[in-house]
């Protein structure tokens, strides 16, 4: 009886092992939406039902944005197209998951891919273009005349013109407690003096844990090296980083409070543990509207500026091209940008901001531009360094003790 039991046990274990090895590949992929039978071939007829598979990187606010706002609005305009949204994760990793999925399917020789279009950040654009994974679709869409911003042409040194519609631009600024800081520093040099005079009252997250800290350090380098154009346009040259060790060592020697990331900086600002810190504009406004941030915390954009970054809409080379282009075109419409991107989610527009703000309410414009004006943004909204300089900055910052 014992032997029979052992034999049955061994057999069931073998079967379960075989079953596990045959688990669908989607189970191990973070970026794989469910297959849909109607997604087999690109739709040639306008009224044929189509399921558009869309993947977005970024935080939970991104998937909420597409699921709760854009998908229903788009379906209303194009009733035959249903958008299925998959979130691939925050940060560079989320966008890299989309790249990894497309690369795997291209390498496997598949003509129809699981993801038709995606929302990615700048860091992955070079790899997407170099590997022929995305379409140059912008000239084909009706709203292409609004896709004119600098970020629609270059992404960290890579020429992306025609490949992307920037969905939004998010901007890093300095958040400050207006009750305790009567005269906020207007430049990085003033900020440095302020930090020395107010030890531990400035906080940021270093170069890890959140892009607000990375952007702050990039702005620090721009101010100290005066090499902004080279750092954001390239080409990369190692001798341009020769003095970064000393610059970053001086930065690290300042008496600051280190936070745990974007949310960490906002938390400490809210609790009054720090009085100034780099924050994302949209996160600050969102927290204020949610009641999670003191209304005393305001924004300032110091000289010479701070970086921001866009998120890009891209169309995969193995996509249902017609439906995907319609979706990106929909989001390049100034009215859609005004209502959803700017109006509901407090991002800066990704396309021609003049066209968008003509459609925006006064209340929205007041909220977005009350503390940091459009004019200031046009002069001081900078780009992040190109990939090589960005990695060098992270490496040297980490190595500097």
């Amino acid at each position: 009886m014992k032997k029979l039991l052992c034999a049955l046990l061994a057999g069931s274990m073998l079967l379960s092992l075989a079953a596990c090895s045959n688990a669908p590949s989607e189970a191990s992929s973070a970026a794989a939406p469910a297959q849909n039978s109607s997604a087999g071939a690109p739709s040639q007829e306008e009224q044929k039902p189509v399921t558009l598979n869309f993947a977005t990187g970024g935080d939970t606010n991104m998937s909420e944005f597409f699921n709760n706002e854009i998908s229903p609005a788009f379906h209303e305009k194009y009733p035959n197209i249903t958008v299925k949204v998959t979130a691939t994760g925050a940060g560079d990793d989320g966008s890299r998951n989309i790249y990894t999925k497309w690369k795997a399917q291209k390498d496997a020789g598949k003509s129809e891919w699981d993801i038709d279009a995606g929302c990615v950040n700048q860091s992955v654009m070079k790899d997407l273009i170099d590997n022929g994974l995305i379409e140059k679709y912008v000239p084909d869409i009706s709203n292409q005349k609004y896709v004119t911003t600098e970020s629609s042409k270059f992404a960290l040194g890579t020429d992306v013109e025609g490949y992307v519609v920037p969905l939004f631009t998010s901007q890093i600024v300095l958040g400050y407690n207006s009750k305790t800081v009567q005269t906020p520093p207007k430049s990085y040099d003033e900020l440095e003096s302020w930090i020395k005079a107010n030890p531990k009252k400035f906080g940021y997250n270093g170069v890890t844990g959140g892009m607000s800290g990375v952007g702050f350090v990039a702005g620090w380098l721009y101010n100290k090296t005066k090499n902004y154009d080279t750092l954001v346009k390239g080409p990369y040259s190692a001798d341009k980083t020769a003095d970064w060790g000393k610059i970053l060592k001086d930065l690290k020697s300042l008496p600051v409070t280190y936070t745990q990331g974007n949310a960490g900086t906002l938390d400490l600002l809210n609790r009054g543990e720090i009085d100034i810190g780099p924050v994302w504009v949209d996160m600050l406004l969102l927290w204020k509207s949610d009641g999670r941030m003191s209304p005393d915390v305001k924004m300032i954009l110091p000289e010479p500026g701070m970086p921001g970054q866009p998120m890009y809409l891209v169309v995969g080379s193995g996509a249902q091209k017609d439906a995907a282009e319609k979706f990106c075109d929909f989001l390049a419409d100034p009215a859609v940008q005004a209502k959803y991107v700017v109006g509901k989610y407090n991002w800066y527009p990704g396309i021609d901001s003049n066209a968008v703000f003509q459609e925006s309410s006064q209340e929205t414009k007041d909220l977005l531009f009350k503390e940091v004006t459009a004019d200031e943004l046009s002069k001081k909204a900078l780009a992040l360094p190109i990939d090589e300089y960005s990695k060098a900055m992270q490496k040297i910052y980490t190595e500097t003790k």
């Binding site: 034999a7 940060g91 800290g213 745990q260 938390d267 990695k391 980490t398």
Partner: protein, 283 residues
């Protein structure tokens, strides 16, 4: 000679051996494919630098992250010492003087995930968090100049200790309860108090179980990510798991991350070898 009996006995033993091998084959295969193979791939990747074999990732890890490696070992060891001290003391007390309610209270952290513990500690222990706000109400501290030492080693040790103490208590109490009660009765007869019973009877008689508990707890500290990420100090020394995460996410340097991973395996290897050695000695 009864050849039939010999042959039958021999066939029976071979059959049993084959059956035993068939039973252990699936879990061994699972461990090999899900752990051994990825581990070997990780080691292979850690020895690659710009496409060629090199130990450069290890020398870079030790020079740049050496402080973090020591920090990881330090906070893990300190947290372990505190966990063991608390679990043995409180476990011994609760074994000798039964109190179900206190026992339940001490085991509550078992049901709270690490990430929740990290977030709770971050807000509770923050300079202007709940604890300091309460203490300032009774005049213990000045809320305008609160103590500011929580992010870093102190916060990590407090959080890890609080979370894993209940797990250690569970294991330690179950081994204390397996001690023959007659030893303890005899000790009490000769006037041994609670402390003496714990120190001179319960601990020596359950040393191997406490050792196993220590190995399990230490491994959990070495591999922890959520608490050390939330309670760490970005400007100071970091836990090695945070360095691995940052290397992958921000530097996209997988060979370097794998080198750090191998170093963390080696940190855990010592306790693992001790554990296996003890298990084999017992067998």
């Amino acid at each position: 000679m009864n050849y039939s009996a010999v042959l039958n006995g021999g066939r029976g033993k071979t059959g049993e051996r084959l059956l035993g091998a068939a039973v252990i084959l699936p879990p061994v295969a699972l461990v090999c494919t899900e752990y051994v193979y990825p581990f070997l791939m990780s080691v292979h990747s850690s020895l690659l630098k710009d496409g060629r074999f090199s130990a450069e990732n290890y020398s870079y890890s030790l020079s740049v992250y050496g402080g973090d490696i020591l920090f990881t070992a330090f906070v893990s060891a300190l947290s372990l010492a505190l966990v063991l001290a608390l679990s043995v003391t409180i476990g011994g007390y609760l074994t000798l003087r039964r109190n179900r309610f206190l026992e339940f209270l001490f085991k509550v952290p078992l049901f709270i995930p690490f990430v929740v513990v990290g977030h709770a500690m971050r807000t509770f222990l923050a300079p202007k968090g709940l604890l300091n706000s309460l203490l300032s109400q009774i005049g213990v501290i000045d809320i305008n100049h609160p103590p500011d030492f929580i992010y870093g080693a102190v916060g990590i040790v407090i959080s890890l200790t609080w979370k894993q103490f209940s797990f250690a208590l569970l294991l330690v109490m179950s081994s204390f309860e397996s001690v023959d009660k007659s030893y303890l009765e005899a000790a009490r007869t000769f006037g041994a108090g609670t402390c003496r019973q714990i120190l001179n009877f319960l601990i020596p008689l359950t040393r191997s179980s406490i050792g196993v508990t220590a190995v399990l707890i230490l491994t959990s500290f070495l591999q922890n990510f959520s608490v050390v990420m939330m309670m760490g100090n970005s400007g100071g020394s970091q836990h090695i798991m945070v360095d691995i995460y940052n290397t992958i996410t921000y530097l996209n340097d997988l060979p370097l991350a794998n080198a750090l991973g191998v170093i963390s395996y080696l940190l855990a290897l010592g306790p693992a070898i001790l554990y296996l050695k003890r298990e084999m000695e017992k067998a």
